[in-house]
């Protein structure tokens, strides 16, 4: 589903590469934690999957497409296959919960009837049934993140990227969000989650890829946050 083939990414004006000859493959339906200190290359890794940037050398394949060769007008099509969730939710404050979720479908030209059918289903799936008419500021942090997950998943993408989705949440709420991501993963959606939350990584026991200075220093099938002795 995602393949990095000797990928190096050096930003202009930087001597040290953000990613250094990275080789990696993530299969369809996998749940992967991406861990590492700030500046280790996690964000660059995620940006490459979203084709927000291109590798300096090497090749990146996402959902069967080589992103280096993807012309810019085909990028939106790729992004419809990749849902994204952020630490800061990024909801539109002037739209209701339903409108926030529907927005993701409206802007890719889905029909009103389809939107009317899919949005309530997705809200129910993320545990927000009956809250569609609320404004984001009337919701708790956990609920707001559920809206963000609903928006990322409403188009049923093949890949879900989560960049520190529990970074702003208390541990109890974080568990709820992780259960939700796990549920999404069980629909055969590949989930790639960058996190600093050791307890979550330790509890979930999924594949863990650790980056350090742009290199993979650890790749374990059922890993934990820190090094295993």
């Amino acid at each position: 589903m995602i393949r990095f083939d000797k990928v190096t990414k050096t930003y202009p004006g930087q001597k040290r590469p953000a990613l250094d000859a990275l080789d990696l493959e993530i299969e369809k339906g996998e749940f992967v934690f991406l861990v590492g200190a700030s500046g280790s290359g996690k964000s660059t890794f995620l940006r490459l999957i979203l084709r927000e940037t291109t590798p300096t050398t090497g090749r990146v394949y996402v959902a069967g497409k080589e992103i280096n060769k993807l012309s810019s007008w085909k990028v939106p099509k790729l992004r419809r296959q990749v849902g994204t969730v952020f630490q800061d939710f990024r909801l539109l404050p002037n739209k209701t919960v339903s409108e926030n979720v529907a927005f993701a479908l409206q802007v890719i030209g889905k029909s009103r009837s389809e939107i009317a059918k899919v949005v309530p289903e997705t809200l129910e799936m993320v545990g927000l049934e009956g809250k569609g008419h609320r404004m984001p500021d009337e919701l708790s942090g956990g609920e707001q993140q559920r809206v963000a997950v609903a928006r990322a998943f409403v188009n049923r993408p093949m890949i879900l990227i989560a960049d520190e989705p529990t970074g702003n949440l208390d541990p109890g709420t974080s568990v709820g969000i992780m259960k939700l991501l796990d549920r999404i993963n069980r629909t055969d959606t590949t989930v790639v989650m960058a996190t600093h939350d050791s307890s979550i990584v330790d509890q979930m026991r999924k594949r863990v890829i650790e980056l350090e200075g742009g290199l993979i220093v650890r790749d374990e099938a059922r890993g934990i946050y820190g090094y295993q002795n």
């Binding site: 790729l78 990024r90 409206q106 802007v107």
Partner: protein
């Protein structure tokens, strides 16, 4: 489309003051461009009008002519023959008509007889006060200099008038007005382009969250750009309509209400056809003014 239109509505209400200032700048610049086009048409029209009619008028000496060519008094037959021969031989001359002193006297009576002061003037004048004249049609109305200078120096020639020369300052004024209006219009067009760019940048900044989400969920570039393009086009169309209305007002009040009535005998004035062409041209310019910077700026700020 509904979503795009609703975004357009939201964006317009958020950018009310920017949109109004853009419309004002564009309207004034478009109006000046259209006035420049109109003045240009007027210059062409006036040149054509006088180009068809303008002749060089050669007046021979009368008994009272002050010219140094007229020391001998009224032009002699030999002098007349020499002038005619010079006209016949000059390659710039297409043809010429002879007007006798009596013809000229009758024309003066018709013209001066319209007013009391003119009638009083006529009492002191007789046919012998008027010269024999030659009305020369040139092959190229612009090339009057050679004929005028050649004939001015001949004995028996009282004076040589070229209406083209007399009306030169009028043409200069019209041309200067045209360049002035185009110059100011050029500056305002530049201001309008910068304002369109600025509006796009500010709108893109105000909507950065929506745009960021649109990009992430896979909205196409065109879908992201469309509200911006529609907003600019709407501002351009409003500006073009206002400028057209102002030009129609100008035509109605100034051209038809004043120039055609009071200065109708001076030249033929521009009409609705020229105004229509100027409006068409400026509307096209308005659309380009809105579209080109919008597409460039949205590409810069909103590309996926």
């Amino acid at each position: 489309m509904r979503a795009t239109l609703s975004e357009l509505g939201q964006s317009l209400s958020r950018n009310k003051s920017m949109t109004i200032s853009l419309v004002v700048t564009m309207t004034v610049s478009l109006l000046l461009v259209s006035l420049g086009l109109l003045i240009n048409s007027q210059v062409n029209r006036t040149e054509k009008y006088f180009g068809d009619k303008l002749q060089v008028q050669v007046n021979l000496c009368t008994k009272n002519s002050p010219s140094t060519n007229c020391i001998g008094g009224v032009a002699t037959d030999d002098q007349k023959a020499a002038v005619k021969a010079a006209l016949n031989d000059n390659p710039e001359v297409k043809s010429f008509d002879v007007r006798t002193p009596t013809d000229n006297y009758e024309r003066a009576r018709a013209l001066l007889g319209q007013s009391d002061s003119g009638k009083a003037q006529l009492e002191t004048l007789g046919p012998d006060s008027f010269p024999e004249s030659y009305f020369v049609t040139l092959k190229d109305a612009q090339k009057y200099d050679g004929v005028v200078s050649q004939l001015s120096g001949m004995d028996g020639v009282g004076n040589v008038n070229s209406l083209k020369k007399l009306l030169g300052p009028l043409f200069d004024i019209l041309r200067n007005m045209k360049w002035a209006s185009w110059g100011i219009a050029g500056l305002l067009v530049l201001a309008a382009i910068l304002q369109v760019s600025n509006t796009i940048r500010m709108t893109a900044f105000a909507r950065r969250r929506e745009i960021g989400i649109m990009r992430l969920v896979g909205a196409s570039s065109w879908h992201i750009q469309l509200p911006f393009v529609l907003e600019s086009l709407l501002a351009a169309l409003i500006s073009a309509t206002l400028a057209a209305a102002a030009l129609v007002g100008f035509m109605y009040v100034v051209v038809y209400g004043y120039l055609r009535d009071t200065l109708g005998t001076l030249t033929t004035w521009v009409g609705w056809r020229e105004a229509g062409l100027a409006i068409g041209g400026t509307t096209l310019l308005a659309l380009l003014l809105a579209l080109i910077p919008t597409l460039v700026m949205t590409r810069k700020y909103l590309d996926v």
